[in-house]
Symmetry: C2
Subunit: 483 residues, 2 copies
Amino acid sequence: MDLEPIYAGEGQNVTPDDFRKHGRQVVDWIADYLENVEKYPVLSQVESGDIRRRLPASPPLHNEPFDKMLADVNEILLPGITHWQSPNFFAYYPSNNSGPSILGDLIASGLGIQGMLWSTSPACTELETLVLDWLVEAMGLPGSFRSTGAGGGVIQDSASSASLCALLAARERATGFQSNRTGIDRPLTAYASSQAHSSIEKAMMISGLGADNLRLIELDDQFRMRPDALQAAIESDLAAGKTPCFVCAAVGTTSTGAVDPLPEIGPICRKHGLWLHVDGAMAGTAAICPEFRTILQGLEWADSYCFNPHKWMLVNFDCDCFFVADRTSLIKTLSILPEYLKNKATESGAVIDYRDWQIPLGRRFRSLKLWFVLRYFGLDGLRSMVRYHVSLARQFASWVEASDDFEIAAPVVLNLVCFRHRGGDEVNQRIMDRLNQSGELYLTHTKLDGRLTLRMSIGQTNTELSHVQRAWDRIASAAHQGN
Amino acid sequence: MDLEPIYAGEGQNVTPDDFRKHGRQVVDWIADYLENVEKYPVLSQVESGDIRRRLPASPPLHNEPFDKMLADVNEILLPGITHWQSPNFFAYYPSNNSGPSILGDLIASGLGIQGMLWSTSPACTELETLVLDWLVEAMGLPGSFRSTGAGGGVIQDSASSASLCALLAARERATGFQSNRTGIDRPLTAYASSQAHSSIEKAMMISGLGADNLRLIELDDQFRMRPDALQAAIESDLAAGKTPCFVCAAVGTTSTGAVDPLPEIGPICRKHGLWLHVDGAMAGTAAICPEFRTILQGLEWADSYCFNPHKWMLVNFDCDCFFVADRTSLIKTLSILPEYLKNKATESGAVIDYRDWQIPLGRRFRSLKLWFVLRYFGLDGLRSMVRYHVSLARQFASWVEASDDFEIAAPVVLNLVCFRHRGGDEVNQRIMDRLNQSGELYLTHTKLDGRLTLRMSIGQTNTELSHVQRAWDRIASAAHQGN
């Protein structure tokens, strides 16, 4: 029997000094990377298989030096990175990041704890609950979401998972918490606008309700859900013997940033007993500024709400904040208690066990990075960031409006500008491809009323007026180039 | 309109030099923490609300200095931490960690990229696919799991999510991929042993199949699933007009580490067309050693398999490796493609988009830490770790066997020892409570044949013979103390 400690092999022992040394190398590497990120093409220009081809086909039998690994990150991986932290990244949505977030996350990695139960690290649970209560105050969210009442908040990995949890709670509430036990035994229906995020359709698939039972509600001329159409769809399903259970409204749709009219949608949901989930994934962050809180008007009707600090609030992925007004429904939906997880704190009923608020069992100490960001910048700092990005988007929109070649394609609510060249889809596709292949900036698209539309999404940590100005110059000149 | 850059406020600017400075502080903090972790009580001794009470009720309006935040981690949070990285942590399962993993994860935080599509960072996708292929080779997994054939691997957050994805694919395959569209329209059943992880029951709830439709199959005298009972349960459901679709077998159950007999379960699944998922969450790591690969005998029958490097392979949470033999079924189950995610690489069909292999859309660059661990330790290093932990468990078991007061409660397969005092449940509960309140070590329990049983789970990074020896001394002496 071999009773020697592990890592006895030469070069394999991670001593505290090794960790200090390599840790400093990595900290410096990140500082250098973020300082130089503008030098790389924003959208990776490699072809399929290029990265894999440069790496060994088999795993190493013996240990390799740390320096070699870091060199390979630079030489082999970096060409295959699309630089989401570049100030010239205007694609999809921002995924902005910051030093305090990275370091809060690093402490979480170092502590290496599991937050599945209160007892497996009380600080992990209590800090998370507190920080989400802080956000209720900081963003003017309805008091029903506070943990000190019947509600509460939890950090999920993504808005997709939050929407899924909300849909599951809706399904269970509508079936008297019986679907969980006996399976789905009736036709349940759900509702979202035709601009809702694809994760709602995916949640319908996962939950066993079926994507065909999601009604995509028509839009008004500003790409917002039409409450009268929602009302009609619910009534039509009721008449057909279906059981409507869930509505997802968007505060900032992915395509255009449109805000569904919660003050009108809310009463419809209440009247018919439907669970109202509000998805504010990107735009929700804006509510940190009092002047932008109109986007959340009517949120007091919601049973649940989520937004992603990992999009526009300087917290690195993953960090979605999910709030419920009635935590009991969520917990009844997601709770199971095997013998090996039983403990006195849980049995006392006095603590939160977050494993009952999410899909997986295990969970990381994610509130640390959010806490660090809120403290390092303060609400003041985060507000000035949001205001600056919104002002940049308005500036960009004003250039589009003043141009003869381009037009604004949807109302500019916050930091997202939908626009297009007047020359039609082919021209817009050509402009986008040309810009993205240049490596100088990265833009993505959507379709509005069947027409290809470019999206300028502004919110990276280091994006300044000069980047937006240069992007507009490039866009305008790309339009003037021939085929 | 305010067009000043953000972070103009004094003290709010995260310069590269600030990041270098604070980054070093955090690296040193982690090195110190891991060096001193034995000084803290393993199980946090705080009461409910103790941590929250010491933190401000409201978020800060203005920015705070980084040093203050780090001081609060020490003074306020640490007492509320249960120290999973302590070498005296023997509870639940290991969650072992290592320097290269922490630093690989740190690089992922710094890069701050999204891996949802190949095109959003090709290196993120290609490294992940490669490293999971490496593991097929390193652990002697069936070739069907290689991405170079019809299969492939993906990193999930947890075994819970992997099992859920497997169950969903099973549901879809059994219904001709129609449940996804039209909802569940027939009674589907699934099977696992009565010792299966609670996440299987939770997956039944989430997927809309219903927990009552999970058949908990009886055990043999070594807590393994009985294939004859599985066969009988399937036949009984078929006779009753149900549609059996899924079997989850465990390679290392949570309670005892029992290994379900795959060579007999496999043919039963194949005969009836059931999806076989194998959950090797903790024990799976042992397959890195050729001499322990008998636990995976029969894995070639499996449609999917998962194990967690974040449990026993020195990778910090989250990192579950999930393999499928037929990736098409998984992708057909979880894929949706909205306009705003369309891109040429996806349309070419030549690339993997991992968002179609998981529940959420967004994803972190998790393969970096796994790649770092495999390279820094090499297969040799990981093998010596596994062998050492297994030898420690065998040593501990030999002390239990030689004792008059205690008995072994289940076969010791690898690094988990189930044992109990002969004096009955009350005595065992008292021993466990006394040890856990002492702060000197942390043990948890299960129930076997209705009797409270202690679990000694060995696998922390720095656990050595001396820790196990001292744990046994404490256990033995706790048994001799009165009430």
